[in-house]
Amino acid sequence: MPALTPQNTACGVAHARRSPATAVLGALPAALWGALSVTPNALSASDSALQALAVWALQFTPRVAIAEAAVLLEVAASLRLFGGQAALRERLWPGAQELGATALAWAPNALAALALARAGVEDGLRAPLATLLDPLPLGVLSALRPHGQTLSHIGCRTLGDVRRLPRGGLARRFDAALLRALDQAYGHAPQTHTWVTLPERFEARLELPHRVDDASALVFGARRLLLQLSAWLAARQQGTTAFTLHWAHDAMRSRGAGEGGQLTVRTAEPTRAVDHLSRLLAEHLARVTLAAPVGDLRLTADEVRALPQRSESWLPDATAGQEPLAHVLERLSVRLGENRVLRPLLCADHRPEHAGCWQPVGEPLPPGARGVPPPAWPQPALLLAQPLRLLVRQHRPLYQGELQLLLGPQRVEGGWWDRDESSGHTRHAVRDYWVARSAQAGLLWVFQTRLADEPAWYLHGMFA
């Protein structure tokens, strides 16, 4: 057991000192180990995949170790935080499955958990440990595997058979590692572990199981990386505001395709919600065309910021089950374009077309934007992008019939300083505004230009 041999590292002593009765009563065990095992020799059993699973598991407990084809975690101290063993399992198991874990087992010590996971027994707490371990085959403990042939020749098929052999003879005939592994698994000897530590920078790689031609299909692979990113952020109590997905083209690419590409996704607020991040990524990837099939993905976190946790409320939450509005608007602005999801801004200008400006909804307000006083005169709810010149009959403006002027004039003059460099004109406005009424189009805001060569009427807004 390479990963479980004693090393000069922190020593986690795990004993099954509890009587079986305490397990039945549901008292907190002194140590509770979970083992997430993966199918040996599968792609998910590679070192990097196990490391990824271990980093992901760090969000539940700081005590995570890698064994062969498995990740072991000690969660006794985390049970209360996550609301008990059942709640913890509910959060742990679906995510672990997405990262390639195939079996889960709980036991009072690490080696027993590993053995149970390999044997497909999940709950190692429902009975005394010895009665659970005794019927397991020899292959579940790695230290017994080299002697499997010999042991089966002398009639030992299960761990219980081996344990019933005299200890002295066992130690003489086989190596000491076998006896130690047995003692450790049954909780009679301490174990030491090398704890997995969190990398300072996040970078995760994934080799896709098959070549991907379509950029939007990269999301499925990238989601696995995002899951790791989210766990890394959760363990550090941080959220990301920018992350980059790099992809490497297949080796069989054409010459002009290049090595690969990358895509940086930014968010307005720090977040680590996997669903939100993967939906954002999907929106971005929908616009990407791949030059060649992709075989390899890499995800890096570019900017991370502290993300303080909010306290849970005892009161029922009215917004439960809702997606925050900021997330929806972010998604809309990715799909439609940043300049099409807008928030208003008041500017100190008398010309109406300059008094209300718009900026992308994710951007912060410029300083002083809140100090602008509201206009003293009523203004319409909708403003035409370009004033519409109106026909005039007998000195009366026409718009879907004759307009009846109700209120006015409101004189607006300004902008003589505002020069349009390209055309050479100033955007000087000298206007008399009127509230007008049309039988068809409701209440309108029209103006008459003053001091121009030829006075003209324009429609500028609708009170709607």
Binding site: V328, L332, P344, R370, L382, L405, L406, V435, F463
Partner: protein, 277 residues
């Protein structure tokens, strides 16, 4: 197992006129689970709203709406002869109330750019307004659906002139998941199409500052009469001279040299000729 719907039988409901039966509390409703009973109403009585309702700011309109106001968590169709003519005059009090409660108002695809200073008198501050400039019909539908599905905005006001009935049904399903009112502005000709929206209003500009509102569809019997709501644009009554407040008697203040001082406005009769139910 209790029957889902109450079926009056001769023994328990002997020859009672329908109107009286509805006035008394229907006996069968008591046997239903409360959530079901709230959603069941008699065809001749005004239904109750299952979700939250928001006062419309017009007493005459509140009196004829189920639950006494705009329904939250449901589509409301505003059918207008022309887009951009009276949406905010009708829905402005609602939007102001939602913003005062901390919600944000999202406008999807208005026919003209909204004017933030002009929305301030409605109570819609600059932090509470979002404008989604979705130009094509597909984009508007998608944006509206995303907003309704998330259910986290205070109110959605969307202009969907080309939405088909099955698309509205889809939106209605999403709207039911949230508590926010969802107002869809559609052309008046859409009154001929069927719609999944539980409330449909047809509005016209009336004489003076009035809005004439027909309730085309609601949870309850059809409404025969047209409502006349006095709805001057927000902010205008604060500055207008007293003479302008007198409804129906417009005053001409055209600066003119000729003698056509008074313009008489004909009374507009927009009453529909055939019911659309």
């Amino acid at each position: 197992m209790q029957p889902m719907f109450h079926r009056p039988e001769a023994s328990e409901a002997p020859a009672v006129p329908v109107s009286e039966a509805s006035a008394a509390a229907p006996a069968g409703l008591a046997a239903l689970p409360p959530a079901v009973a709230a959603a069941v109403w008699r065809g001749d009585a005004l239904g109750r709203s299952v979700g939250t309702t928001w006062p419309s700011g017009f007493d005459a309109l509140d009196a004829v709406l189920p639950g006494g106001g705009w329904p939250g968590g449901a589509l409301t169709e505003l059918l207008l002869p022309q887009a951009g003519t009276l949406e905010f005059r009708l829905a402005g009090p609602l939007l102001g109330r939602i913003v005062a409660g901390g919600g944000r108002v999202v406008l999807v695809g208005p026919p003209q750019p909204p004017h933030a200073p002009g929305l301030l008198p409605h109570g819609i501050g600059i932090d509470a307004l979002v404008w989604v400039r979705a130009d094509t019909a597909a984009e508007r539908l998608w944006a509206t659906e995303q907003l309704l599905k998330a259910g986290s905005c205070g109110a959605v006001l969307a202009w969907l002139p080309q939405a088909r009935p099955e698309q509205l049904r889809r939106l209605q399903v999403h709207a039911a998941a949230s508590a926010a009112p969802a107002l869809l502005c559609r052309p008046a000709v859409a009154a001929r199409e069927s719609s999944a929206a539980p409330l449909r209003l047809l509005a016209h500009a009336g004489p003076g500052w009035q809005l004439q509102v027909d309730v085309l569809k609601r949870k309850g019997p059809p409404l025969a009469q047209t409502l006349n709501l006095s709805a001057p644009p927000a902010g205008l009554p604060a500055v207008w001279p007293a003479r302008l407040a007198e409804v129906g008697r417009p005053v001409s203040v055209v600066p003119s040299e000729a003698g056509h001082a008074v313009v008489r406005v004909e009374t507009i009769e927009h009453r529909r000729t055939t019911p659309f139910h």
